[in-house]
Structures are given as C-alpha cells and as structure tokens.
C-alpha cells in the first residue's frame, strides 16, 4: 500500500517500548511498523494488555523512552502538541467550566471574537450548541464525550487520536456515537486513529483495522475494510471480516497458527 | 474477639476508676498547699526541722504530709475548690475571693504580715516619680492577689482608679520579664521578686505597703478538716509558731536552711526576712485589716457576694492552740 508523504501522514518504524516494573522488565511493544496516510480512519483493535493504548500515547507524545521512530509529516514526535488531538476514555472535562469554557480551554492567543466563533462552530459540529452554558455534570456520558471531541478539534490537529472513547458508554449510545464520529470525520477529514477492544466498532469505523496481539504487543495483521459507508453490520462482507479477526483472537488461545480464508 | 473486647472494657473501666477525682484525703493524710516565697518561711523551717511531725505526734496523730507548691493564691483557690487541699497559705485577698466563691474554708492563723514585702515597682530609669504619675500607664498585677489590692489603694490615695491606668493581668514570672524588657511601666508585686530585681538594678520601689496595706497573709483550712481534726490543726499552728520563733532567734541559720525553698540566695533572703512579722496569732487590728480588704473587693467587683469576716476567721482555734 503506497504511502503518500504529506503533512498528516504518520510513519512508525521499528517501535519498541519496554516498561521497568519492580518484578522486572515488560515488553509493551515490539517491532511496530505502521504507516497511516492523510485523511485515513484507522482502527486499532486488540485484547487488554496488548499495548494499543501505549502505542496511541506514544503517538500523542505522552509516553517516551521508546526505541524506533515515530514521524508525523516527516518530523519526529518529541512530545505532546497541537498537531495531535486526543480524546480519552473518560471525557476529562473540567467540572468548574461550562461546556463552552471547556471547548475554549484549548484555545490560546486568539482574540475574544475569534475564540467565540471557533467554539460556536465546533459545538455546532458535535450538535451541542444548545448546551453551551451547561456544566459537565449536567450532561450524559455521550454528550460529555462529544464536548471532549469538540475540544480536541478546536486547534485543527492533523491527527485525532481516540483511546477507547466509547468504552464507558452503554451499547445504544455507543452506536450513536460511532455514527457521530463518522459524520464529524466526513466533515473535517482529520486523520483519525482509534483504539478499541470492540471488533465490530473497529470494522464499522476504520478504513483499515490494525489487529494487535498481546505479550508482547505486535501488529499481527492489518486488514483493509474496502466497504462503502454507512456500513451494514450484518452484511456478508462485514461478517467475513469479523470472522477473520475473531479467528485471530481465538487462534491465539487455542492454536499457535492463524488461518486465513 | 470476645476476649479482646472484654479485656478492652476492663482496661477502660480500670482507667476510669483509677482517675476518679480525689475529692477527699485518705484518713491519715494532710495536704498542704504553699507558695515558694519568703512570706511563708516558718513552714519551710518547720518542714526541714520536722516540727510538724513532732507536734502532730504530741497530739497523738501520725498522718502523712503531702506538700503542693503553687505560684500564687488564685491557683491555690482552684485546688481547694477541687477538694484537693486541706491547709493552705495565701494572701488575704485570694482567701476572701475563695470564700466568696463558695470554697468552704476558714482562716486559722496569720502566716505573716509585712507592709514592706509588697510594693509597686517601676523600672530604675522610669520617669514615674510618684504614684500620680501612674495615670495612663501600663501596670501589671496578678489579678486577685493582695498586691492587686495594694495597687488600687495606692491609686486611691492619689484620687485615681484602675480605670485611669491600663491594668494588665500577668503572672509574677511574666511580670519580671515584662518590666525588664520595658513592656510595662509598673507592677504591683511581692517578695522575692522585689529584692531580686532590685539587686539586679532593674527596678526601684515606687511605694510599698507601709501605711497603706499591712500585707496580711493567712493560713486557711477546710472546714471539713478543721472540724474532723481539730487537734491536728492546732498542732500545725504550733509547729508554724516554732518556725517563726526560730527565724526570730537564728535568722542567719534560717536563711541558710530555706534559701532553696524560696528561690533566693541566703544573703538576700536574710534582708528580706527582716521585713516580716511571722507570729501566727490573729489580733483585732488584723481582723480589721482583713475586713477592709473584703470591703474593697466587694466595691471593686472582685467578689460578688459579701463575706462575713468574723465568721470566716476562727479565733477560737488559734487561741486554743496557744499560739501568740
């Protein structure tokens, strides 16, 4: 798969990450190689402890001390930055600020008018214009997460990283939010990398699904999802891809080799 | 679990019972409250010479004597109120305050009197030359002590009241620091502070009690004790008198003997002892003086209810004990 080297393309080469625990060393990530092009939506799926969150945090610049290279638009990633926005599993909204206060929190250096415009636009984008003056404790989980997404997008990041953003939501809200994030992606066309443990979610959303195995965390395979959106979770192709991924996971436990159909 | 719980309860109960307030003396115990000042020299002499035990034995008793030391009269009052003392040595003023507050005591004898033993002092370099210069100044006393009364009388003579000065309540120890540091302008105190500070060159006496207040200190006993152990009480008075006589006849030796009890070096103590009359018998003019104190305190609002001094002073006991 050809990779275009543009400002928003992410290239990861030979990434290794070790954690030093009291009991000894743990290899969190081993030899990760990944390329993501501008405007793609990538899902990373894996079981707990496979290092997918660590991988995302390294891309975000929140973890360091790794070997190998991580480059965004040809430049090495040294730490957190405005070019990479992040949405966490918890909304992490500041309870003492209003919704618009929270969204504005990431904006610095603009005039007041500018700031208000940007905040208004992004609240519209996530469909929460009516709740601008509300406080986080007055919102439902899904709404709060939408505010977090708006906050992450105000600085027009090249990359939006999502760390199991819908993990804490109930099944129905989750599906709603998946549609939401797709809609936002289609409008903004920001490159998105989402980590999830929900296989269905991964397939529903991603252009490609990166399947990771655990202990040590490696990229098992990268499956393209050449299905047009919106995707039907019960369509034949969807189900086939799901079967492939399932097989990988349960092959890990029962059989040492993987099968591909 | 149950055993632990039971042990805990038992320990708690023991601790509580152990610490019940001791409001009563054991049958053969005398609890004496003193102050470590030369005003009560005879009792310390008697203590060293064991005359208390001697006189008590003559009266057919052999109680254990428990000594407690206090810094001034008011704390002694507290201790009596809590039922922790039988005999006490304090000034006439705090004795009256205690009685007015309902402490059940009587005066059984005079500890001493000495108009020169209490005084109003000022820093040596002070420009207060006479009591009328005290107007508007900061003066410290132990509130409720007989020196407090002295200050009021001194002011009265100049037509002033305590409202004309800034009256501060301090302990004698703090008064010593404060006057040396210049934090207060004057103080009304009693020995040995006067001689101590004078000998250091820190203060001079503005006026002492001569002609103003006799400086009567009394010996009190709880009515309970005097009632139950009348003979023992008389024996104590006799022992006190022996101490007084010893000081009169052998002042140098006495000073050496009790210098440690009153925190004054023997040579200074010798000078101070000369200021006192230690005879414990109560005379008519003494009673008048005490009545004057009571009247002052009532008018000054230091006591709220009057005290009948004639009922407060037990002259019979003193007479019966044969003291002079």
């Amino acid at each position: 798969m050809g990779v275009k080297s543009t400002g928003a393309s992410l290239v990861i080469e030979r990434l290794h990450k070790k954690f030093q625990l009291r009991a000894g060393q743990v290899i969190a990530l081993q030899d990760i190689n990944l390329s993501i092009s501008d405007g793609e939506f990538i899902s990373i799926v894996g079981a707990s402890g496979c290092g997918k969150s660590t991988l995302l945090r390294i891309i975000a610049g929140l973890e360091n001390g790794h070997e190998g290279t991580v480059k965004l638009g040809g430049r090495r990633i040294a730490g957190p930055g405005l070019d990479r926005g992040m949405v966490f599993q918890e909304h992490r909204l500041l309870p003492w600020l209003t919704v618009e206060g929270n969204v504005a929190f990431g904006l610095n250096g603009q005039t007041k008018g500018e700031r208000e415009r940007i905040v208004r636009e992004h609240l519209e984008l996530v469909g929460l214009s009516d709740f601008a003056k509300a406080h986080p404790h007055q919102l439902s989980g899904g709404m709060a997460q939408r505010v977090a997404i708006a906050r992450a997008l105000v600085n027009q990041p090249k990359l939006l990283l999502l760390d199991e953003p819908f993990g804490a939501l109930d099944a129905l809200t989750k599906i709603q939010m998946q549609r939401e994030i797709l809609r936002i992606w289609e409008v903004e066309r920001t490159t998105m990398v989402m980590v999830t443990h929900d296989i269905d979610e991964a397939i529903y959303l991603g252009d490609r699904v990166v399947v990771m195995s655990s202990r040590p965390g490696t990229v098992k395979k990268v499956l393209p999802v050449p299905l047009p959106r919106p995707r039907d979770r019960s369509s034949y192709e969807f189900v086939q891809i799901r079967k492939q991924i399932y097989a990988d996971f349960f092959a890990e436990v029962d059989m040492p080799f993987s099968y591909t159909i | 679990m149950k055993t632990i719980y039971r042990t805990f309860l038992a320990t708690l109960a023991t601790a509580l019972l152990w610490n019940l307030p001791a409001g009563f003396a054991a049958a053969d115990e005398i609890r004496i409250a003193t102050q470590p000042i030369p005003h009560y020299a005879p009792i310390f002499v008697a203590k060293h010479k064991e005359w208390l035990e001697e006189e008590l034995a003559k009266a057919g008793a052999k109680p254990v004597i428990k000594w407690a030391s206090f810094s001034a009269g008011p704390p002694i009052n507290e201790s009596f109120a809590a039922g922790q003392q039988d005999i006490g040595f304090l000034g006439d003023t705090p004795a009256i305050i205690g009685r007015a507050a309902g402490i059940d005591t009587r005066i059984i004898g005079l500890a001493s009197n000495g108009p020169e033993s209490l005084a109003v002092i000022v820093p040596t370099k002070s420009n207060i030359k006479s009591p009328k210069d005290l107007r508007g100044k900061k003066a410290a006393v132990v509130k409720g002590s007989y020196a407090h009364h002295l200050l009021v009388l001194v002011l009265q003579k100049e037509g002033l009241t305590v409202n004309d000065i800034d009256l501060i309540n301090l302990s004698q120890a703090d008064i010593a620091t404060a006057i040396v540091n210049g934090n207060i302008d004057a103080a009304a105190v009693w020995e040995p502070i006067i001689t101590k500070l004078e000998s250091e060159g820190a203060v001079r006496v503005l006026t002492d009690g001569t002609g103003i207040k006799k400086g009567i200190l009394v010996i009190i006993a709880t009515n309970d004790f005097a009632g139950k152990h009348r003979e023992q009480t008389k024996a104590l008075l006799r022992a006190y008198q022996r101490g007084a006589q010893f000081i009169e006849s052998n002042p140098k030796e006495a000073a050496q003997l009790i210098a440690g009890d009153v925190n004054l070096p023997a040579d200074l103590l010798l000078k101070v002892l000369a200021k006192f009359d230690f005879h414990p018998a109560i005379h008519a003019d003494d009673i008048d003086e005490i009545k004057a104190s009571e009247a002052f305190m009532l008018s000054a609002g230091l006591i709220k209810t009057p005290v009948n001094i004639d009922a407060f002073v037990d002259v019979d006991l003193a007479r019966e004990s044969g003291i002079k």
Partner: protein, 263 residues
C-alpha cells in the same frame, strides 16, 4: 405507620431530635444543683450562667470583648491565609521548593501555638503583635499543608489534557490546578479559622486586658466559674457561626463539587 404523611409531625420530630439532648442536659444540670449535688464553684447552674451572661451583655462588656477577640482572630487568620495560600501554591507547584521547605514545615508543624508564647512575648512584647502571632501560627499550618496537598493531587488525567492542548503554564495553574485544588484549600481555610479561634484563649493569656480569652483568664483568677462558663459557651457559639459562614462560602466557590463527586 404514620411516616411521611404528616410534614408538620416530621418537623416537630426533627426539632426534638436536634434539641432534645441539650434540653435534657440542661434540665438535669439545674436539678442536680437544686438538690445540692453540685457546688456552684465547681459547676454553676444554667440559671446563674444565663444571669451572668445577661449582666455582661447589658454592661456592653460582652460586645466589647467579643469584638476585640474577633478582630484579633481575623488579623492573625488573614495573615495566615495570605502566607499559607501564597507559599502553599508556590511549594505545591515546585518540587525544588518543596524539598527545600519540607523539613522546616514538618518540624514546626507539631509545635502547639501555646508553646510559642514565651518566645512570642520575648520577640513581640505583650502588645497586640504577640497575640496575633500566636493566632497566625495556629491557622497557618492547616492552610499551607492543605493547599500543598490540593495542588499536588491535581488529577493526572487533567494534566495530560493540558499537555496535549499545549496550555500555557499561567492558564494551566489558574484554570486547572487551582480550581482543582479548591476543595482541599477550602478545607484548610475552614480548619485554619477554627484553630485560629481556638487559639484566641491561648493568645489572650499574653497579658491582654480585653477579649474573650482575657475574660476567662480573669474570671479564673477571681474564682468566678460562672463567667468562665459564659466565656467558654460564647467561644463555642461564635466558632460555630464562623464555621457556618465559611461553609456558605465553600458552597459558592465549589458548587460544582457536589456533582463532581458523583461523576
């Protein structure tokens, strides 16, 4: 069972529950006195206490003493708040500063304000300053320690958000660290004010000629237990009022907290 059906009854029931114990104590107390079981010097009866309180109130003495004590407490507490908050925030934010000051703070903290009195007299004399100093010491440590703790326990999750959004440090401190630390800071303030008020008696031991602490000490010298009790009760009541006021302030400042706790 007649439970929530009758709100009037509920209210009466609550009234009994709130005041019942106090009423029983007062009645027992007075009765024991009438029966001669308690000597008035040890524990004056409630009637005497009320009478003495009324006397003091009428003569204006009570108002004067309360006013002076409150003023002293506010002075000492004010200085403690400014220093405690300022230093606390600085130390909370700087690891280096924390390491430098930790030993001194931990060693000085356990010393009770009372123990400082002799030094206070030596340094500041017997005027207002020594009293305000003692009160300041009492309030300072709760405030600074809680402030440092509040700053320290800034949620890491929020800190990551600030990093990812490249929030400048000024905004980070003022919009993230300090609001997050406010619950702990308010606790420090509340405790500090309480301790300051408790210290007023200790402070007024230093040669005061007015104030509630002085009133109590003075009455003690004169064996006036009724005045002592009036003074004590007044201290308690005013302490309670101050605490209620701070609680109201707390609600205003961190109203979001109640709901955050349920997040």
């Amino acid at each position: 069972m007649v439970r929530d059906n009758n709100p009037r009854l509920e209210k009466i029931k609550y009234l009994f529950q709130y005041t019942g114990l106090s009423v029983i104590i007062l009645v027992t107390w007075q009765t024991l006195f009438y029966l001669g079981f308690i000597k008035p010097i040890i524990l004056p009866p409630p009637t005497r206490i009320i009478a003495t309180f009324w006397e003091l109130l009428e003569s204006g003495a009570m108002a004067r003493h309360i006013g002076i004590s409150v003023l002293r407490v506010l002075e000492g507490f004010g200085i403690a708040a400014v220093l405690g908050l300022g230093l606390g925030i600085a130390i909370g934010l700087s690891r280096t500063l924390d390491r430098m000051t930790d030993l001194i703070i931990q060693v000085t903290k356990p010393i009770p304000p009372l123990a400082w009195i002799p030094l206070a007299i030596l340094w500041f004399g017997i005027g207002e300053q020594s009293k305000v100093y003692i009160i300041f010491l009492g309030a300072f440590f709760p405030i600074i320690i809680n402030t440092i703790a509040g700053i320290r326990q800034t949620d890491h999750k929020f800190v990551e958000v600030a990093r990812v959004l490249e929030v400048p440090s000024g905004k980070f401190i003022s919009q993230m660290v300090i609001p997050g630390a406010l619950p702990a800071i308010m606790t420090g303030i509340r405790v500090g004010l309480m301790v300051a008020w408790i210290c007023v008696v200790a402070a007024e031991l230093i040669a005061a000629s007015s104030g509630i602490g002085y009133l109590i000490m003075d009455a003690r010298q004169l064996s006036q237990s009724d005045v002592v009790l009036v003074g004590m009760i007044t201290i308690g009541v005013i302490g309670k009022l101050m605490d209620s006021m701070i609680k109201r302030l707390e609600k205003r400042l961190i109203g979001w907290r109640v709901s955050f706790a349920g997040d």
